[in-house]
Symmetry: C2
Subunit: 659 residues, 2 copies
């Protein structure tokens, strides 16, 4: 892409005008006043998204033989209760009891402290008032900020330091801690200055009822992961019982955000692409690690963040795994693959970093987690999470359903183990428990070592033990004529284990918006001439066909080139409007169309056409076949412009503006 | 595909076992006991679906320059209230007050009458008892039938005729009519014989609440269409104000079916692909109609059905439009394109018909509708609807929101029209209505001709008229000092009209299941050897790589071929399990993999490999490059096996079973 992009100042407002004018996306239900957090993708946005998904599928699923599944969004209560989402998938909200307005607690604290720090800078004369006001005004319009006014009030140096430290850790506070911060720093409704209720948890899942009786409670999934975990046995079987392997899913998920803002970056319905890589917890090596080990990435470790710093480390993936910065090869492999994917679809590598989660901000299931963050005008945004979920999910679902979700590995050398085992006197269970007998037997056979120790002690003390089972009424009791619990030493030829899960999880909308920012620039000649410099492979349309005029003589060539492009399945548009060539190209610069083909009266005579490159506006001339060959090679084979057009004739024309 | 398919008897049970064993799809949340009407696609099903979608996009969106959008599933109440779904998108349910069991009324009537007709046939000795029982048993297991037992009771001839006539019209009855049928034919709970409540409407939309306050009621969309209509102005603008044009959307929709059965054919969450073609109501010609006019289709008109018959008419699309069987060219064009698409992805043309909706079964918005129906073991199934929705949707949304959703067409010859017009004395509105003034003005300017006539009469009678406006409290009154309503004759240079919409709407899951039935057969040598004869272009995996043994000598060639296939982006799998070649191919016949490549010790010597064709089990031998070239041409360029392999050497081997 052109170097001009980085030399001009980025204006979010200019970009947003382009994205709106060209219908990349728009607020959903705008005709009805809109619903915050819901957006529709128009034709160029939809096509861009489809290209990103297509590349994702080839880069991850095809390349690493992943097992893609498509599971339902509607999810029954029981599944998400087990996974922990019913109890823990919440944000903290606080209500203004007078106005009924609802705030997301962490965002409110963040915003108020940030505005006070800005006011402090102003008071210290560190920013010009006018500039700050203009920026704030623009921000307010776009981000629906709660804080409407910045007051120039100087703060004590230690208060500034304290605020900055709080902000660095803002993602990590509990509801109680947020409540304490609000009291300590006197944070109220920024508009009315009324006090707010203490933060309460608000579950982010959309609830619904399945079936006509209304009795089966369900949710819209908050992630695609659970559908993959629940199919583990079928997938493992499909993979001919080979380990490790990965499943993948692409689909919409839903989060009922308290107060969505920041456009595509925080929405209530969004496209995700998730991989669940199932791996032996005792061996997280990756067979293709060598292929990526020399790739240099930018890491921001938890230690650095806990020290209140943001200075990243740049090192190779190989080094990072060797030094323990990244826990294991599989995690490292995926970080590298994520990097390669993001660069391929147009992310600016200088605005991409991998940030490790701090202990207090980790999702409830994760044991280690790195986010690929992209820098935008909203700050550094989490776009891909890469978490080691350990054996958490498979374990909780197995415990709940009493179905095994395990791998059975044949051991080359058998191993001797000593453990407690339970033995049932089965013929006595039927008479005692009747229809519940199979449930009780299954429950007993699934007891953990710790539970076996506990019940064994009770048996030794009183010759019986008591227990309750979900779904069976009352307390049960068994004596030693029913069960024996003994320490057994035996030789195992098969090792049974619950796989760990490494999960790269992509928020496609966030990635797409970040690429829009990374690839947007305006031409030196006019700040009105925006360009979206997408890599050709993701550009919504690859070619614009531009006949010089509406003259009928040019029509047969336009038709013929259209036919060829369609046959080659190269997405293109014809613009035979009366607008000047310059205007037509300007329109398509905004759409990010990488190539333009001009058909003129020379074309009628000798069949030659002109090919224009979007970023440099360079042009070459040649016959239809060679030009289309060049387009194909540059778009789909990753060849650069110089290489792809070296057989074609450079073509000079007067400046585009004059055309 | 092989002719064997049609000569052997189809067994749904055998097919379902294959689909389950190979994880094409499975009940969702099976680990938790499942939720009826929800299914997950495993890897082969997911990949098949992705291929179908890819072909759909190329066949419709790319080929006809449609504007694809991706709009949200969450939809606010107001939108679906306006579209009519809140009031009318219901099925009729009746409840057994004793057991609480809920039945879908039309399905119950259908099933009970069908079972009585079966019992009648049995009593007349027209079917053997054993056969009928076995079929019924299988049906019960698979379809969760409510009627558990067929009683051999002979019916009067006129009763048989009456039942048959009711069944032919079963899709067209209102709730009241269904209630009357239940009384007339004494239809009760088939298991308990308890009486049922009269049918009540049950709205099929899933309800949820958007945002933290719980006050914004919303639904999961029942179709993708509304999101496209609401974006009409943006799309029309994006299309440079050219007409006609089409938008398209691919995405999940949701229907809370009362009692889902019949596997993938009736589910609660499903993938749709919908086109909304916006067209001038006065000109429904289609510029590419000539390209399809000679295509012969099978039509079942409403007249034939109303006469209680099912004999279709086979004729060309051109003839059908000319004779008025199909209303217009655009509708005819889409029927033809639907046909071509379905054949391309593997539908059996002899089991495809286009059935016209009868007046009483038409959706509330449609003025004409044809369904592409596919014949399966469940009967003829609606898989694609192709409706002319007229101007219904754009009109209701425009009326509700007071935003114009129209096309402005420059007229070549201006036309003279005479109509009532309203003139406002604007400066008087502010003082009278204050902040509501703009709303009142907008409301007045959007009045229809009929309303203008009404208010004009009131003005003439009493010098004033009264009205109420949504959102403004109380009744309003205006006299003739505020408004004038007069008949005006003027010359229009622009014609303003609301486009009509032709909507082809695809139920992807139903199409996929039907193709599974159409393409499934078992080899003559064993009813256990199932084959899914998918066209290569939609097959989940294109190539199976089979090294003859695990010998290490063969590994380098397997790796090299894998590398080439990956580079060419041809989906493939390696099967280096110890199973016999015959077993490995049998497994992949079930997966519908069209090609097998065998690598043997000859390959090590001279680099030659064997290519096997799934349906015929024919084999040819050649070098890697030629074999892969043949695979590419047959899969992606639609060349047949004989043509694609004519340069390769036929290869004879002993029968597969012996291998």
């Amino acid at each position: 892409m052109s170097g001009e992009a980085s030399t001009q100042e980025f204006s979010r407002e200019t970009l947003e005008n382009v994205l709106k004018r060209r219908f990349f996306f728009a607020p959903a239900f705008e005709l009805y006043g809109g619903v915050s957090g819901l957006y529709d993708y128009g034709p160029p946005g939809c096509s861009f998204q489809a290209n990103v998904i297509d590349i994702w599928r080839k880069h991850f699923v095809l390349e690493d033989d992943m097992l893609e599944v498509d599971t339902t969004m509607l999810t029954p209560y029981e599944v998400l209760k087990t996974s922990g989402h019913v109890d823990k998938f919440s944000d903290w909200m606080c209500r203004d009891l007078k106005t009924g307005e609802i705030f997301r607690a962490d965002h409110l604290v963040e915003e108020v402290l940030e505005s006070r720090l800005k006011g402090d800078k102003e008071a210290r004369g560190l920013v010009s008032n006018a500039n700050a006001d203009a920026q704030e005004e623009a921000d307010k319009k776009k981000r629906k900020k709660k804080v409407k006014e910045i007051k120039a009030v100087k703060l004590d140096d230690e208060v500034v330091a304290e605020y900055e430290s709080v902000l660095a850790q803002i993602d990590g506070y509990s509801g109680e801690e947020l409540g304490e911060l609000m009291v300590k720093y006197d944070i109220k409704n920024p508009v009315t200055n009324e006090p707010l209720e203490a933060p309460k948890p608000f579950n982010l899942m959309f609830e619904t009822a399945i079936g006509p009786s209304g009795q089966l409670k369900g949710y819209l999934r908050p992630e695609t992961a659970q559908g993959q975990f629940l199919n583990f046995n079928k997938l493992y079987d499909f993979n001919n019982l080979k380990m490790p392997f990965a499943s993948a899913a692409i689909g919409k998920s839903f989060r009922n955000e308290i107060s969505p803002r920041a456009g595509l970056l925080r929405v209530r319905e969004f496209l995700m692409a998730e991989i669940e890589h199932f791996v032996d917890p005792e061996n997280k090596k990756h067979e293709r690690f060598d292929e990526v080990k020399d790739l240099e990435l930018t890491f921001l470790s938890k230690e650095v963040q806990q020290a209140g710093l943001t200075t990243p480390t740049v090192t190779t993936v190989g080094e990072a795994v060797k030094t323990g910065l990244v826990d294991n090869e599989t995690l490292g492999y995926f970080l590298a693959r994520i990097y390669q994917f993001l660069i391929k679809i147009g992310v600016d590598s200088t605005r991409l970093r991998f940030r490790q989660h701090m202990a207090n901000e980790m999702a409830h299931y994760a044991t280690d987690c790195w986010d690929a963050e992209l820098q935008t005008s909203y700050g550094w945004i989490e776009c891909v999470g890469c978490a080691d979920r350990s054996a958490y999910d498979l374990t909780v679902h197995a415990n709940k359903t009493k179905e095994k979700l395990v791998v059975r590995q044949k051991l080359d050398t058998p191993r001797v183990i000593t453990q407690y085992e339970i033995e049932l006197e089965k013929k006595k269970f039927g008479p005692k428990f009747r229809k519940d007998a199979p449930i009780v037997e299954k429950w007993l056979l699934s007891l953990s070592q710790d539970e076996l120790v506990k019940y064994r002690e009770q048996l030794q003390a009183s010759n019986s033990f008591k227990f309750t089972i979900d779904g069976i009424e009352g307390e049960q009791e068994l004596d030693s004529s029913f069960v024996k619990i003994e320490l057994v030493t035996k030789t195992e030829h098969v090792r049974e284990y619950t796989p760990n899960v490494i999960e790269p999880s992509f928020g496609i909308g966030r990635i797409i918006y970040s690429i829009f920012e990374h690839r947007f620039w305006t031409r030196a000649e006019s700040s009105e001439r925006g360009v979206l410099s997408f890599p050709p492979i993701v550009a919504p349309t690859k070619v614009l066909l531009v006949p010089l005029s509406n003259n009928e003589e040019l029509q047969p060539i336009v038709k013929e080139i259209s036919r060829v492009l369609r046959k080659e399945q190269i997405p293109f548009k014809v613009d035979d409007s009366g607008a000047s060539i310059g205007k037509r190209y300007a329109r398509n610069d905004e759409l990010g169309t990488p190539f333009g083909i001009t058909i003129d009266f020379e074309s009628v005579k000798d069949g030659s056409i002109t090919l224009r490159e979007r970023d440099s506006t360079k042009q070459v001339r040649g016959d239809v076949k060679s030009i289309i060959q060049a387009i194909k090679e540059i778009t789909y084979d990753g060849i650069n412009w110089e290489e792809g057009t070296k057989e074609l004739t450079p073509f000079e024309t007067k400046a585009e503006d004059d055309e």
